[in-house]
């Protein structure tokens, strides 16, 4: 129902799992077994698509590659490839757990090894909470195939029926005789066996899980705490120099001239030069933009040199862009008819004319930055033979490779991409502008270069979560139901096309639940780049819609929980409309009802009238990225208007299995606190075409003293497991604002929350 805005490169996904959740194991995929270098079993997955085969044949040869998913060495160590980037979402731990469970490996003997970008692995990205739904089925089948081969190898060694043998924690046991053989000892023999058909293997009964469902710490956590160089920023390449790249503060501005000679004279500076944008629209694709590159012996020297750099930028029309101007345009557009209709059901004007009670309210939210704590960076080495090697903290290396190949005019197969650990993604690193910058600077420098942005550059050259303005009108029936609902959404675009992550999905709730409904849309022309931020669409839309639904519940004189349960109606499965090329499961009202009832029970929602005066509880729910979440916030307000969040309760339904409770609860708690930080503190403002904020003093993240307890409950339902990186975030923003209304009677209709609006109650 909610914001399934395009996120990640998953176009073309097939919905062939149960309940419409995609599981990407094509009919043509097959497994082969082979002998590993140094002995042991190597299991390789072949995706069976012609495209993957061609690309694999031309795969880059830089660095050591493990062209397989699983390797079992003679010493019993099981190495499982982590094909996706690790951005803190835990997939480098979770995906190997799936393989290891069905392989019946001994987890302490399992090693996760980060893959390079290589088409043999299929899609390699971290986005859209997709790792779980895409890999739940195929990863387990690969593990089960391996176990089947190892058990068969043992049975053949002992010359006993395979049915008399079973496997557990890396050991095969012959039940009648009690004989055992470890996986290491069996690996060579298993390598000579044919790999079974992946669709024929038997998967475990979940009651027998020994790894899935158990609290499993991150595979690299100990190394991080030893200070090992795992992140992109830690990359060291022999002969490397350091680079800074200064782009124009006004988006899309071009370099007219710069005091290059003066900067070149600064200590340690080796070279200073201008790079040109790849094309005038590159700013919206996060491609190469005009800028000045400074190369020095140390990164600190590049920063000292930056202080000396003076650039004359051109002044084009973008300089007229400002937050104040956007607000003025939004107000003007809201008084006119929408430029287009996203959806129109029933007879809205007529229903409004006859409504028992009509409510109107306008909601607004700001641009947001991603502020990954590891600033954008990339190390690149353009070599004499024309090939390029890249070390990048990226969520989405494949489009980065395309960008680099196009900029350098070389074949994609000449670009090798190492995926480092990523110090925070949140959607920013789905874009690869830093990658093409590093590659172009290295080409000019003729040696390996580490490009690192400073914090100001990181905040001022983001692809921002778009701001938005919602103008709601709704009518209640005499029974206190929503009979008619209208949103005139004023958002942003370029030349009549909705900007990235700035759309309103036509299936967004309450569409389909209200007989007369209209979603109209008007666009403000925007020359500021936008892009996906954790839960694109939902991170903004939930605040506006779920706050207004709370207003309607109060106007109807009904409890906000009962109002929602009534609005969703009885438990049933409804089809939803997916954006083109996106898989979309049906919407199950039973699951959203389930999490609403669970969070109400856990938070004591029904007894909240006992709360002290000035303290309130608020409720909201949201469905996105296949996950159903309902959240309750308890909050009060200090005399100066500062909100205090006492506690958050969350109930989530992401299917039948929580794969790794260690990661799952952490994602939900972190997502909720992330959302609270946005609601309380965050806004990117634009003045004279440039972003005002420069660092964490003016763009604030939630801090420890502001972080309330977050109590998380999962509702287990008979559905395939889905991801947790995103769906927990959206409901907390409206739940907080609804709690502040309950506490003070003041309705927050604009983010971030302005304490002045809550003062003196």
């Amino acid at each position: 129902m909610a914001g399934q805005d395009a996120f990640g490169p998953a176009a073309g996904a097939r919905a062939d799992g149960d309940c419409g959740v995609p599981s990407r194991l094509t009919r043509r995929a097959f497994l082969t077994a082979g002998v590993a270098a140094g002995g042991g079993l190597l299991l390789t997955l072949h995706l069976g698509s012609a495209e993957a085969g061609e690309l694999a044949a031309a795969a880059p040869a830089a660095g050591a590659q493990l062209n397989a998913f699983v390797r079992i060495a003679p010493d019993g160590i099981v190495t499982i490839v982590a094909k996706n980037p690790e951005i803190g979402q835990g997939s480098k731990t979770m995906l190997p757990m799936l393989v290891a469970e069905e392989l019946d490996a001994d987890w302490p003997q399992v090693r996760a090894e980060q893959a390079m970008l290589n088409p043999i692995y299929g899609e390699q990205f971290a986005g859209g909470s997709m790792a779980t739904p895409l890999n739940w089925e195929p990863m387990r089948r690969i593990g089960a195939a391996g176990r089947q081969m190892l058990v068969l190898a043992a049975a053949q060694t002992w010359k006993v029926p395979v049915t008399e043998c079973d496997a557990r924690s890396g050991v095969v046991r012959h039940r009648p005789s009690g004989r055992t053989l470890g996986y290491g000892a069996l690996a060579d023999k298993a390598a000579a066996l044919p790999a079974p058909d992946l669709r024929s293997v038997t998967l475990k009964d979940p009651r027998d899980y020994r790894i899935i469902g158990h609290f499993t710490g991150g595979v690299d956590s100990a190394r991080v705490l030893e200070g090992q160089p795992l992140f992109g920023i830690d990359t060291v390449v022999p002969g490397m120099v350091y680079a800074a790249y200064q782009k124009g503060p006004v988006f899309g501005s071009r370099v007219v001239s710069a005091n290059i000679a003066a900067v070149k004279a600064m200590p340690g500076v080796r070279d200073v030069f201008i790079l040109r944008e790849s094309d005038p629209e590159a700013v919206f694709r996060m491609g190469l933009l005009d800028g000045v590159a400074i190369i020095a012996d140390s990164w600190w020297q590049t920063q000292k040199a930056l202080e000396t750099l003076r650039v004359i930028w051109d002044r084009d029309s973008n300089v007229g862009q400002s937050t104040v101007g956007f607000e003025r345009q939004a107000a003007a557009l809201s008084r006119e008819r929408p430029q287009s209709l996203v959806r129109s059901d029933g007879e809205v004007d007529k229903a409004l004319a006859h409504a028992h009670k009509v409510l109107q309210a306008s909601y607004a939210y700001p641009f947001l930055a991603h502020v990954d704590l590891e600033p954008q960076n990339c190390t690149a080495h353009c070599k004499r033979d024309g090939s390029v090697e890249i070390w990048a903290p990226t969520q989405n290396p494949e489009p980065g490779r395309k960008l680099v190949a196009a900029a350098l005019g070389i074949e994609e197969s000449r670009v090798a991409v190492h995926m480092t650990r990523v110090g925070g993604g949140f959607g920013r690193r789905l874009l690869n502008d830093y990658m093409v910058e590093a590659a172009m600077i290295s080409k000019r420098a003729g040696r390996p270069v580490k490009l690192l942005w400073n914090r100001r550059q990181d905040i001022q050259h983001d692809a921002y979560r778009p701001a938005g303005f919602h103008h709601f009108t709704a009518g209640l029936t005499p029974e206190g139901r929503i009979g008619v609902f209208r949103d005139h959404f004023v958002t942003f675009g370029q030349a009549g096309k909705v900007a990235s992550s700035a759309g309103l999905p036509r299936s967004h709730f309450p569409a389909g639940f209200v007989p007369n409904l209209e979603y109209g849309q008007s666009l403000i022309e925007l020359r500021v780049p936008t892009g996906p931020l954790r839960n694109p669409g939902g991170n903004a839309l939930a605040f506006a819609f779920e706050s207004f639904i709370d207003e309607l519940a109060h106007a109807a004189g009904r409890d906000p929980l009962d109002f929602r349960l009534d609005l969703y109606g009885p438990a049933r499965v409804l089809p939803t409309v997916a954006p083109p090329g996106r898989p979309h499961p049906p919407f199950d009202t039973g699951r959203i009802r389930g999490v609403l009832e669970l969070v109400a029970e856990k938070s004591g929602w029904r007894t909240r009238q006992d709360l002290p005066r000035g303290t309130g509880m608020g409720l909201a729910c949201y469905y996105s990225h296949y996950g159903y979440f309902a959240e309750v916030v308890k909050a009060s307000v200090a005399p100066d208007g500062t909100p205090k969040v006492h506690k958050v309760w969350a109930a989530g339904d992401v299917g039948r299995q929580i794969i790794n409770p260690a990661g799952a609860y952490n994602q939900v708690q972190g997502g909720i606190l992330d959302g609270l930080g946005a609601a309380l503190h965050q806004a990117v403002t634009v003045e004279n075409g440039r972003v005002v904020q420069e660092n964490f003093n003016t763009y604030r993240l939630l801090r420890m003293r502001e972080a309330p307890p977050v109590e998380v409950h999962f509702r287990i339902s008979e559905n395939p497991p889905t991801g947790l990186g995103e769906p927990a975030l959206p409901p907390v923003l409206p739940a907080l604002c609804n709690a502040l209304y309950a506490a003070t009677g003041r309705r927050i209709r604009s983010l971030p929350i302005d304490p002045r609006e809550l003062r003196g109650v």
């Binding site: 030893e226 090992q228 990164w299 704590l373 110090g423 914090r455 708690q669 003093n697 420890m704 972080a707």
Partner: protein, 159 residues
Amino acid sequence: MALTITVNGRAREVESAADTPLLWVLRDELDLKGTKFGCGMSFCGACTVHLDGVPTRSCITPVSRVGTAKVVTIEGIGDTEIGGRVKAAWLALDVMQCGYCQSGQVMTATALLTRAPKPTDRDIDTAMSGNLCRCATYTRIRAAIKQAAGLPTDDTREV
């Protein structure tokens, strides 16, 4: 002009210019990559190291100001009794998500427990609020500090 500073118990000769922040000397000259760069202005705490046991923002500390103070970084903190306990608690509770801020968190938490072996929630709030976590793992950071202190890990704040 070369300076000598003591890092994790070893005397290290340093070539960087005197105004270079300690952070970049540690990371790029001494190749100790565990201390992280987040903001360059002391707002985020990712660069926290100890100078004679005091948690210090290395991103705004010129190397010339270190003098004879003993520098301890994430690479060395595990060798101290309290630092070892903090790291063990961090792993047992699986605190980190992306992990980028966590070396700074561990350095600040270790200093807190050295000063206040049984910290209250208020102590934790005061000590830890200078260290940002973009993944917002604050729930687990709080619990891990309590675990390292031998306290119950439940969140006992009045709500």
